[in-house]
């Protein structure tokens, strides 16, 4: 039976061809999954928090001892913060975005609270929206008289809530939101929704973790956090962030010694810290992919060079019989393509099964088809590139080689 010379060539080097195919398959499987994870992590860590991050910082304050009226000392702090030059806004709260910790409320539309929607709760007052730079798209902001003190163990009823658009859509798909009441965990009766903001991310950011399914469902509740430890969130006028981050804590301590300032963190620092692992993983996988491609390329170069060396005489004969150099190069390139394509098909199957396994054990997303195609294109291109040098060397075999030995 007639066999194309390419196939007969591969047939005579079954093991070598299989080694290249297996390597290409594994490389492709790792590559497309890694690229997908990289893209996922990078796009997750680029999600907007909805706040004016470059100008914001937070001070973690903890009161020492129980001396003094908790509400009065917080009020004094706020009055000081708001009077400082360079401060564009300040409020006291239990949590802020990009930190990975906060508290959750279950909201529901029926009194039995059977069907609930979770949301992150940020305590705030009439200055919160302005301080964070949130955009109110409907309804109204809190008024000073809406805001009450909330300590660790008292749970007053909020006068009204400001919620994000994402949460509003989830609760009221019909679109009529303002003035409607929701039931809160542990509260009798309903609380009206008085305002809707464009966007405010929940504090949790981990992929597939707590809050990942409702990452824009947040509420701002009209409470001043007067508990033992709380955060002051301060917005600086443009360009004055680092200066205020140094001076403001000193001013607070000067006002009242009975406190510990645990941490002063800008929002950009918070973002870098909270997404550190995601970005780190992306960098590691990128390095792994680069090294993997290099290893595979060198492997192909090595094996193809060997084939060329082994077949010098046959190449000489073909050249003597009239084959052009281009024909010789094309022979080796086509041979590589056939092997790589076989490996590529196996690699696609392997990549998909690896992804399915990760979906079931790590709750990652399904691998989109275009990553498979892109990965396959990369490994096939790599194979062609790696085979090029040995193929060119083959083309330089002189026809006279046919007459040697024998």
């Amino acid at each position: 039976m007639h066999q194309h010379p390419i196939f007969s060539g591969i047939h005579r080097n079954k093991m070598g061809a299989a080694v290249i195919a297996v390597q290409i398959a594994l490389t492709l499987a790792i590559l497309c999954n890694a690229l997908f994870i990289i893209q996922q992590r990078l796009s997750l860590s680029a999600r907007p928090s909805g706040t004016d991050e470059p100008n914001l910082f937070a001070i973690a304050n903890e009161w020492v001892g129980s001396a003094g009226d908790p509400a009065a000392r917080v009020q004094a702090d706020l009055a000081l913060l708001r009077s400082l030059p360079g401060v564009a806004g300040a409020y006291v709260t239990n949590a802020y975005p990009l930190t990975g910790s906060g508290s959750t409320q279950q909201l529901s539309l029926d009194p039995e609270q059977q069907r609930t929607a979770p949301a992150a709760v940020y305590l705030g007052d009439e200055q919160t929206l302005r301080t964070l730079g949130l955009r109110l798209i409907a309804g109204r902001n809190f008024r000073a008289e809406d805001v009450v003190d909330r300590g660790p163990l008292n749970d007053p009823h909020p006068a009204g809530l400001i919620i994000t658009q994402a949460l509003a859509r989830k609760l009221f798909p019909d679109g009529d939101v303002l003035g409607r009441g929701v039931y809160l965990e542990g509260q009798r009766g309903t609380t009206p929704i008085i305002g809707i903001i464009d966007r405010l991310q929940v504090p949790w950011t981990s992929i597939g973790g707590w809050g990942s399914a409702w990452s824009d469902s947040s509420i701002v509740a009209p409470f001043r956090d007067v508990s033992q430890s709380a955060y002051y969130v301060v917005r600086a006028q443009p360009g004055r962030l680092s200066e205020l981050m140094k001076s403001v804590p000193r001013r607070l301590v000067a006002l009242n010694h009975a406190r510990v300032i645990n941490r002063v963190q800008s929002f950009p620092q918070a973002r870098a810290e909270v997404y550190r692992d995601d970005r780190g993983l992306a960098v590691i996988l990128a390095v792994v992919c680069a090294v993997l491609l290099a290893v595979t390329a060198f492997g192909i170069v090595g094996l193809t060079s060997y084939w060329v060396a082994q077949r010098r005489r046959q190449i000489g004969i073909r050249r003597a019989l009239g084959a052009t150099r281009v024909a010789i190069v094309r022979h080796f390139q086509t041979e590589n393509l056939v092997i790589a394509a076989a490996g590529g098909i196996a690699g696609v199957a392997l990549g998909v099964s690896a992804n399915l396994w990760m979906v079931s054990s790590f709750a990652t997303a399904r691998l989109p088809l275009n990553y498979l195609l892109a990965g396959a294109a990369v490994v096939l291109g790599l194979g062609q590139l790696a085979a090029l040098r040995p193929a060119l060397r083959a083309a330089s075999v002189p026809p006279a080689e046919a007459t040697r030995t024998v």
């Binding site: 594994l26 790792i30 020492v64 959750t104 059977q114 692992d277 993983l281 090294v291």
Partner: protein
């Protein structure tokens, strides 16, 4: 004979330096990638008190209605949560059903140093019962644990970490001295030696010790002082607590860790029965409207149940070993090429009387030499890789991820074994070389 083969192998390898380098690099890179990820995995998956892992147990009690669907619960797939309510924790403590037992929770204190030059600062603290020190083998530099009587008396006593002792008392023996916590005086009963088990098995909410445990105080005292848990208190599956501190204590909110020490399996069986009996009693009394469900897991099972190792690290381990496999296939291809390049030499050796066994042995020794060189490179790359990971991933998770002697030994053994495995087929091919045929073409 081995020495002779080794000499031959080295000579042969030097004759094709390019191929040899590629093989060594391939194995080295594969070992580097897999061992780096494995070292991190081992550090996170460690069991810092392995010798006691079958004696320490965590009881779990279902105190939330299983029918109330709560997407917020910290419950596991089995519907049980890993913390207890105050009601249950106190009931278990009162029962004294285990030889040693402690409820635990993490909280924070503001420390006011007696030196007026020093500013007050916040510190991580743990409230527990006296038994905890013996249960977790906490080492003391000065003094020792407080007594069960102190627990009973709600005494203002504290055991402190070495770091805190250095900071506040300049590292001196501070037993008997006064430490001001939240504006109140506590008597120091003991100073710990360096002690930071990783992962922090007794509190996996903060498994890698972001907040160090610098102060230990009696649980009863912390409750008196209305100290809330510094970690999450979870009330999502329960009726909302009544206002005030007592409301919190009487609620079904879960916020306490609980550990018991049960030296024998008979003790464990006894405790398991006790625990279930307790839950049944709660059901009879009307507190639980569902069939009693309890669980008792030893430390080993507890660690795997809690999934201490992050998904990122698991994923990296998979990628690391997948990478090693690619590198081995690669090395195998290169060895195959080498065997073919050198078939003439092999033919000569065969013609001069070397049998197939000898050719095979020599080929494997060559592979082993490549593996050993790859191991050296791999160990270097692992050190580099760990440094890179430390720079890129959260510090706390990688505190203990370093190269120890077992890791180095494992890397070397793995590299040589892998190289020999990759060399098996190419070497077998070498033994098939026909001496006569090879000689004829010369």
């Amino acid at each position: 004979m081995f020495g002779y083969y080794l000499t031959l192998a080295l000579r042969g390898l030097v004759r094709n330096p390019g191929l040899t380098l590629l093989m060594v690099a391939s194995i080295g890179v594969g070992i580097g990638a897999s061992m780096t990820t494995f070292a991190v995995y081992r550090a996170m998956d460690g069991d810092p008190i392995a010798y006691k892992a079958s004696e320490l147990y965590v009881p779990q009690i279902q105190n939330w209605d299983p029918d109330v669907h709560s997407p917020n619960s910290s419950a596991h797939l089995d519907g049980l949560s890993d913390l207890l309510s105050y009601t249950d924790a106190v009931a278990l403590m009162r029962s004294h059903a285990a030889p040693r037992q402690t409820a635990l929770y993490e909280t924070r204190f503001a420390v006011t140093p007696s030196d007026p030059q020093l500013l007050p600062f916040q510190t991580g603290a743990r409230a527990g019962f006296a038994d905890l020190f013996a249960m977790f083998d906490v080492p003391f530099a000065y003094g020792g644990p407080w007594s069960a009587a102190d627990d009973q008396a709600h005494a203002p006593v504290a055991a402190i970490s070495r770091a805190l002792n250095d900071k506040v008392f300049g590292g001196a023996d501070s037993v008997g001295k006064v430490l001001r916590l939240d504006g109140q005086d506590y008597r120091v009963v003991g100073v710990l030696r360096d002690w930071n088990p990783v992962p922090r098995y007794y509190d996996l909410q903060d498994a890698f010790g972001i907040v160090p445990d610098d102060v230990f105080v009696p649980f009863t005292r912390a409750i008196d002082q209305h100290k809330l848990s510094g970690e999450s208190s979870n009330c999502t599956g329960a009726a909302p607590p009544a206002p005030g501190w007592n409301g919190m204590l009487q609620s079904e909110c879960i916020w306490l860790q609980f550990w018991v020490q049960l030296p024998t399996s008979a003790d464990a069986a006894h405790y398991r029965a006790f625990l279930h009996h307790y839950a049944e009693e709660q059901q009879r009394s009307g507190r639980f409207h569902w069939a009693a469900r309890t669980q008792l897991r030893d430390l080993r099972r507890w660690l795997s149940y809690e999934h201490v190792v992050s998904n990122e690290v698991r994923m990296l381990v998979v990628v690391g070993f997948g990478f090693l496999f690619v590198c081995l296939v690669n090395a195998m291809g290169l060895m195959l090429a080498r065997v073919m390049f050198r078939s003439a030499d092999t033919g000569v050796r065969r013609a001069l009387g070397a049998n197939r066994g000898a050719v095979f042995a020599q080929g494997l020794i060559e592979a082993g030499v490549v593996g050993a060189a790859g191991a050296v490179l791999g160990v270097l790359l692992t050190a580099l890789g760990l440094a890179g990971l430390r720079a890129l991933l959260s510090r706390e998770a990688l505190v203990l991820a370093r190269m120890d002697l077992p890791e180095v030994g494992m890397a070397i053994a793995l590299a040589i074994a892998a190289a020999i495995a990759a060399g098996l087929y190419p070497t077998w091919r070498a033994t098939r070389v026909q001496p006569a045929w090879q000689l004829r073409s010369r």
